[in-house]
């Protein structure tokens, strides 16, 4: 090779080394705070972990026994179904309402800035606070929601929101939708703002109406943002814990038990930490599948849009 080529190769490698060095602090933090507990959990899934394990460090490996036990538990089917219902129900409405609100705020009326900031409040409030407020709002006899519906003559009997199995799941979904709307709205609004007005002007010159320009301009232009919002929303919702824990604790009769709350209950109520870790790993796998889909879709959209 010519000398100049060798020098260029060397300086490239040096730059690469500097890049790795800059990454090092972040890598260490990620490994300690994220990767180490993750591997720990995977390992715990294969162990018989009890209180004694915390004190003495004894945690015998029992192979797949924890996984066999959780999958043969009739609660597993119910929990997975609840998780899916909860996730899909939350995402669909969070997204739809978030999109509607984003479109609404595109109109840029006088108080829109203030209102947009206020809409962020559900996202900013600590989940414990919102969940506790919801718990009392949805109370059967004393809750404000039932009072309101009764006074408006929309119902004749107070609705047992949190104390009937099928209604309880619906109620926690409603609470979660309220909490998730700001996240969707903010991202979709940002995406909407980046669509050049010229597209809409061109469309109106061609005679397109509102629905057509929405369908053929807005949605395709928002494709990447929609992808991000849906996938991240999915991953966050799969992890939801506080809302359900405070609203119903997983009840009544396990009707709002999802994988995250079940994992906690197995670990800290039953004190079977190995099984709790196993359920946690199952949840992680499901989340990983969606994360992989997300990364692949992002990659595809990046390469296709070039």
């Amino acid at each position: 090779m010519k000398k100049s080529e060798i020098n260029r190769a060397r300086s490239l490698r040096r730059t690469q080394r500097y890049r790795l060095l800059f990454l090092l602090p972040v890598l260490i933090e990620v490994i300690l705070v994220f990767v180490y507990p993750l591997f720990n959990n995977i390992r715990m899934g294969f162990q018989h972990y009890t209180i004694a394990s915390f004190v003495n460090g004894t945690a015998p490996y029992i192979g797949l026994k924890n996984y066999v036990e959780i999958f043969s538990n009739p609660l597993m089917g119910k929990t997975v179904l609840n998780t899916l219902t909860f996730t899909v129900g939350s995402i669909v409405f969070q997204f739809a309402i978030g999109l509607l609100l984003a479109l609404f705020f595109k109109l840029r009326f006088s108080l829109s800035q203030l209102m947009r900031t206020l809409i962020l409040i559900p996202w900013l409030l600590p989940l414990i606070v919102s969940a506790t407020a919801f718990r009392w709002m949805f109370d059967h006899t004393n809750g404000i929601i039932n009072q309101f519906l009764l006074n408006m003559h929309l119902i004749t009997q107070p609705v047992p929101w949190l104390i009937t199995p099928h209604l309880a799941l619906l109620t926690v979904i409603i609470a979660n939708i309220w909490i998730g709307i700001p996240f969707n709205m903010v991202l979709l609004y940002g995406g909407l703002m980046s669509i050049p007005d010229e597209y809409y002007e061109a469309a109106s010159i061609d005679g397109a109406n509102a629905v057509q320009s929405f369908w053929h301009i807005t949605i395709p232009a928002l494709r990447e943002v929609i992808l991000i919002v849906l996938m991240l929303g999915l991953i966050y919702t799969l992890k939801v814990f506080d809302v359900i824990r405070v609203l119903t604790g997983g009840g009544p009769a396990n009707s709002t038990q999802i994988l995250s709350t079940w994992s906690y209950s197995l670990s800290f109520t039953d004190l079977s930490f190995g099984q709790g870790a196993a359920v946690g790993n199952v949840l992680m796998l499901i989340t990983l599948v969606f994360a992989a889909i997300y990364i692949r879709a992002i990659r595809a959209s990046l390469t296709s849009s070039r």
Binding site: I31, V35, Y36, F39, N40, I42, R43, I51, A52, S53, F54, V55, N56, G57, R135, D139, H140, T141, P160, L162, I163, T164, P165, L187, E224, I228, V229, L232, Y236, T248, G249, G250, G251, P252, A253, N254, S265, F268, T269, D270, L271, S272, I295, I298, R299, L302, T303
Partner: protein, 435 residues
């Protein structure tokens, strides 16, 4: 929450292969190294500070979950008294929320940094004692067991040895609204029949006849146990007719509307509020509510848990907390023992228990407190026949309790009949106990 990050193009398309792929061997080796590392107990050892022998006061660490009043002030007062009487000892107290005590204690156990004195909810002692994390009391002293109520003492006994002493105990009884009973010309219930009849008569408008707590936590099992055990049923035989009859009592209340359906979401605190506000004519609750009720306008009375048939004896579960001494070194344990021991002096027991609405397990102190506060008489009588929750089930209690409270809930919401719910629970209990 992480902000959404779209992968930068450079990471994706560098000459067709991503940077990650090119260093795949490096990544694979890091991954496997990490996996091996986690199998090593490198991070599992913390060191507790060894006490300085002669250079100044020894600081003893103490953890409890009494962050709220009145227990908080009561503990602070006792600690101040202890420090005044023992100038060479200082107590460093940590109060955590109720649900955080167990996780924190486990975390400290694994890093060998448990406090010198650990307060536990009495069902938790069995688990901790079985791991050898607690010091048996016979290395410091011999306790005259006859001076203690047997039930509370059994909560601190493991394999025949004492591993702590009760701070105080509580149980459950029926509070009734004297005004409502007078107006309806009723006497407080003694049997289940009377309980149902009184609840029926007193349900009107916004007021339910009876209120109890049956949420998705230990509180449900705890509230059910008086009825279960008084009917001579038990948790490990939950499928038997006696247990089913106890559940039937509750289901009848809910079905007929004599108790609110919301009980499956109410904690005992919520139940107390309902009673205070006049939304419930009777409630099943414990003596710790007395400080609150006294501040309210309700004219209340207290009767023991009703029995299925006249002549039977109410059997209530024993609540309350205990002081334990985690194992460290002999000298520290001896100093920690002083803290536990001084509380057992009747004067101190009475002060703390009175503030918290508890009853001492030490019989002379209990008698003294009840003499000062006759409203506690019913609770003290039940203490004599009370049962520790971990009596038969020991470490299996939490698992079995969860099975039972889920079964109770499914019967209360109507997804299963009491018989079906408990028969299924019996199967699950047998499985959990490995039968």
């Amino acid at each position: 929450m992480y902000f959404p990050v779209a992968l930068p193009e450079t990471m994706v398309t560098r000459g067709g292969k991503s940077m990650l792929r090119r260093h795949s061997l490096l990544c694979a080796s890091i991954t496997s190294l990490l996996f091996v590392l986690t199998a090593l107990p490198i991070f599992a050892n913390g060191q507790k500070e060894s006490s300085s022998s002669s250079s100044g006061p020894i600081t003893l660490t103490y953890m409890d979950y009494w962050a709220a009043d009145p227990a908080n002030s009561a503990m602070k007062a006792y600690i101040a008294k202890f420090e005044a009487a023992n100038p060479n000892l200082k107590i460093e107290r940590t109060s955590v929320p109720f649900g955080s005590l167990l996780p924190k204690a486990l975390q400290e156990a694994s890093s060998h940094s448990l406090p010198d004195i650990l307060m536990l909810d009495n069902p938790q002692l069995q688990d901790f004692a079985s791991t050898g994390a607690l010091a048996p009391l016979d290395s410091f002293t011999t306790i005259d067991k006859s001076q203690y109520f047997p039930g509370p003492l059994s909560t601190v006994t493991y394999n025949g040895k004492l591993y702590g002493l009760p701070v105080g105990n509580n149980d459950l009884a029926i509070f009734y609204n004297k005004t409502m009973f007078k107006q309806a010309n009723l006497t407080p219930p003694k049997t289940w029949e009377e309980l149902l009849a009184d609840a029926k008569a007193l349900t009107s408008g916004n007021t339910y006849g009876f209120a109890f707590s049956a949420p998705t936590t230990e509180e449900a099992t705890w509230q059910f146990e008086p009825f279960l055990w008084t009917a001579q049923g038990d948790l490990q035989t939950i499928g038997d007719p006696q247990a089913i009859s106890a559940l039937n009592l509750w289901v009848t209340m809910i079905k007929n509307g004599w108790a609110s359906k919301s009980v499956i979401n109410w904690s005992q605190n919520d139940v107390e509020k309902q009673f205070e506000l006049g939304h419930a004519a009777m409630m099943e609750n414990g003596p710790w509510n007395l400080p609150l009720l006294r501040k309210s306008t309700v004219d209340y009375g207290i009767v023991p848990i009703p029995v299925p048939k006249a002549g039977m004896v109410p059997v209530a579960p024993l609540g309350g907390e205990v002081f334990t001494i985690p194992v460290s070194n002999v000298n520290r344990e001896k100093e920690a023992w002083k803290f536990v021991q001084m509380l057992q002096v009747p004067e101190n027991l009475v002060a703390v228990n009175k503030a918290m609405g508890y009853i001492p397990a030490y019989i002379p102190a209990a008698k003294q407190l009840v003499a000062e506060d006759p409203q506690l008489q019913v609770f003290m009588d039940e203490l004599k026949t009370g049962r520790a929750r971990t009596n038969i089930l020991g470490q299996n209690y939490p698992k079995v309790s969860e099975i039972v409270w889920n079964a109770i809930q499914s019967a209360l919401v109507g997804t299963a009949t009491p018989e079906a719910a408990f028969k299924q629970a019996q199967q699950q209990v047998n499985q959990a106990l490995g039968k």
